[in-house]
Symmetry: C2
Subunit: 448 residues, 2 copies
């Protein structure tokens, strides 16, 4: 894990105010100098031609590069639609989702983490959305895909994608977090970067039909039904029980993600969106929903995704992702190369609703200042926070602490361990600590 | 233009409720039948093994395909991170930005349009963001890129990308629309699809440092300064004057778009974000900002991007994109294959602030119903609207009409022409009409 290249923050490089004089000369030469601008003011309509003339005037014969313009300022660039579906710059190819080798025996049942340390805002680019599969991913032909609704309904139905996409749709932004995100921190294992510690977290705008619409259309048993079972089309037979109350509230049968169709790795052409709930319930390649009267206790909710408690029992059906936050820059694996001003930034979220406040400490939790929240602040959605920090060059411990609209305060790791022990895999929402050494190196530490 | 493939809507295909019995059998066989579920309820912890057993039990020897499971339900899929930077499904390859051949003489000074007819929500996938270049696009090395701030400032400065990315940053969602969007409709040319009529429109979450922070740091002349000039690094010497009031308000010097760095086609590594203002002012590959005391009247604001008025004069510095909307599905080029329920959906936006209301007509503007607005409704940002419609099979004319928080109502095309004539290229924000023929074919018509 530690051997892999990590996307280091741009704060790695030293800032250079007033760079080399040549550069400033380049910029000035290629820009509008005082003389040329005066000319422009005198002659609006001839201005286009005047620009070309101005450049020729300043350019002695025989040396076309006298102005030292960078190539992109003196050549014709690439035409439009040369990439009909665009990609990131060639200078950004290190920003990738990455598997943590050895985490599972096969890559088809593994995790690829989102590089939170290199992202901005709240929207996760779909190409960098985290992956967690139980039997690998598929690119399913949407014309052949079907969704069945059966069980305690008056009229069981099978829907094509076309059927679904004609129905009343909603678009909403929500985070999705794997219940096992930050799992390693239960056992005091200092994962080397925020990509691996918190990277099973993404946030998108989802579009689809409210599940309530489909359940109504099929005539669910209003007297006796209590739950639904969502079933995926992959070979792992992923199945999850969801309470009927929740299913009728804000759950979406979604085909859209960040404006386009879901990506294959994220359940194309259909997945369940269960806002505020751990990712495993957002069943991918969704093919069936059954209405029932009691929890199904399938393998993925009886054997897996249960919380080992200190007394030897297991918590089951703990699905809500409680209020949590993490500083993404600066974070472990990055290095501050000099003293001075930094914009400390990170993400906060709660499965219970909106984020109300985020506090940031630079001294391991002794003092806290309130961060700025970027808008929009939406329920069950990531919220981006920013706060100013002037680093004086001495060791520091950075922490963020989120508070949601229910008043719940993100706990310290020792508070969480006191109740839940250290054997859990899931639902670690503790405050994260990043230590800044005098050298500027940032590392993952646990502070109690 | 008409010869190009267009992304037709999914509403093209007929819905099939209760598809073939084989399919329903497939789904049931691969799911949890009543007997198996009973077993699961009796034995939580053995459930994982029981599933495999149940499948073997139902499968006679010698015919591994007796259950007729689709391949993806009985094989191991692809591993995580097999695409470290993910891409859309192979079934979505027709959804692309497209150039309109012949619109300009060279592709480096042309337009590639966003396929609005196939998109959901408000976020435009960065790979489908529209393109408008004046001299082509470049992939500029961010370590070599600089931003100079000069002119009427106390301390002119040159910033590296590292300098900028350490500064206080904000993240905000805004639309960007080319001033020439919907230009062809001035002259009564019925462009064949919404991609070509309205596709110079995109919306992203942008991240960067407020320009006000930089102007303050350089000590702009608070007494005499009135405008700034923004200059791009491309060979077209793109320059635009922006009022100082606006520059100090919500303008951002941005590096982030939808969570990651800007795409090269959209100005990587740095562009100006000028919320509510036409796209040409969102200068790409931004390299210089000069503070001045009067408009610069450069070629791109004196010769280009001016509005031809009926009296022979030209409107200049008309930069705000007024309130506008368009139905994206159903839209021209799509076909309704049968009567019945449709979700009519579209986009509304205003350069003056938030959208307050969107009305939809299916009879060419005689009767209007108010559409549902999806949240969030943000200032100077796209707003997605949805409304139910049961098509009775007779000809219809679909229109949307947006109203913003200032009370401004999107005008009809004849109202706009009465004031502005028909020679304009820019700033056509008229109500768009889509005609649905009895055959179900949807086409672009003008209704007065």
């Amino acid at each position: 894990m530690a051997n892999e290249p990590t996307q280091r923050g741009r704060i790695l490089r030293a800032p250079e105010h007033f760079v080399d004089g040549q550069l400033a000369a380049d910029i000035t030469a290629s820009g509008l100098n005082e003389e040329r601008r005066g000319f422009l003011r005198r002659s609006f309509l001839a201005a286009g031609a005047a620009l070309a003339g101005g450049q020729a005037l300043a350019q002695p014969a025989g040396d076309p590069n006298i102005l030292n313009l960078p190539e992109h300022a003196r050549t014709l660039g690439k035409p439009v639609a040369s990439n009909p579906y665009g990609m990131p710059s060639k200078f950004e190819t290190n920003l990738l989702r990455r598997e943590s080798p050895g985490l599972t025996r096969v890559g088809a049942a593994s995790v690829a983490f989102t590089p939170l340390q290199g992202l901005f805002g709240i929207i996760t680019p779909s190409g960098l959305h985290f992956e967690r599969h139980h039997q690998g991913w598929y690119d399913i032909d949407p014309s052949k895909h079907r969704l069945m609704i059966n069980g305690m309904v008056k009229t069981p139905k099978v829907y094509t994608m076309d059927d679904l996409m004609r129905m009343p749709s909603v678009s909403r932004m929500h985070f999705i977090e794997c219940g096992a995100n930050t799992a390693m921190e239960w056992g005091n294992v200092a994962v080397p970067t925020v990509q691996y510690s918190h990277g099973m977290l993404s946030c998108s705008e989802f579009t689809g039909v409210p599940l309530s619409v489909l359940l109504e259309e099929c005539g669910y048993d209003k007297k006796n039904a209590r739950v639904i079972l969502a079933e995926g089309g992959d070979g792992s037979a992923m199945t999850r029980t969801i309470s009927l109350d929740r299913a009728l509230d804000d759950v979406i049968v979604a085909w859209g993600m960040n404006g386009e169709m879901l990506r294959p790795e994220n359940g194309y052409p259909l997945r369940l969106v269960v806002p505020g709930v751990q990712g495993v319930s957002w069943v991918k390649w969704l093919r069936r929903i059954e209405v029932g009267d009691q929890p199904y206790a399938t393998k993925d909710e009886a054997v897996h995704y249960i919380d080992a408690m200190p007394d030897g029992n297991f918590r089951q059906y703990t699905s809500i992702q409680e209020c949590k936050s993490v500083i993404t820059t600066p974070s472990a694996g990055q290095t501050l190369l000099d003293k001075g001003f930094y914009n400390v930034t990170g993400l906060a979220w709660s499965g219970r609703g909106r984020i109300k406040r985020v506090d940031v400490s630079v001294d391991g939790g002794r003092n806290w200042r309130t961060a700025r929240l970027e808008s929009p602040v939406l329920p069950k959605c990531l919220t981006r926070f920013n706060i100013d920090w002037v680093w004086d060059g001495s060791p520091a411990v950075l922490q963020s602490r989120a508070i949601d609209e229910t008043g719940y305060v993100q706990p310290k790791i020792n508070e969480l361990r006191a109740v839940r022990g250290t054997k859990s895999i899931y639902h670690n929402n503790a405050i994260q600590s990043w230590q800044v050494a005098q050298s500027g190196e940032v590392s993952n530490v646990q502070v109690y």
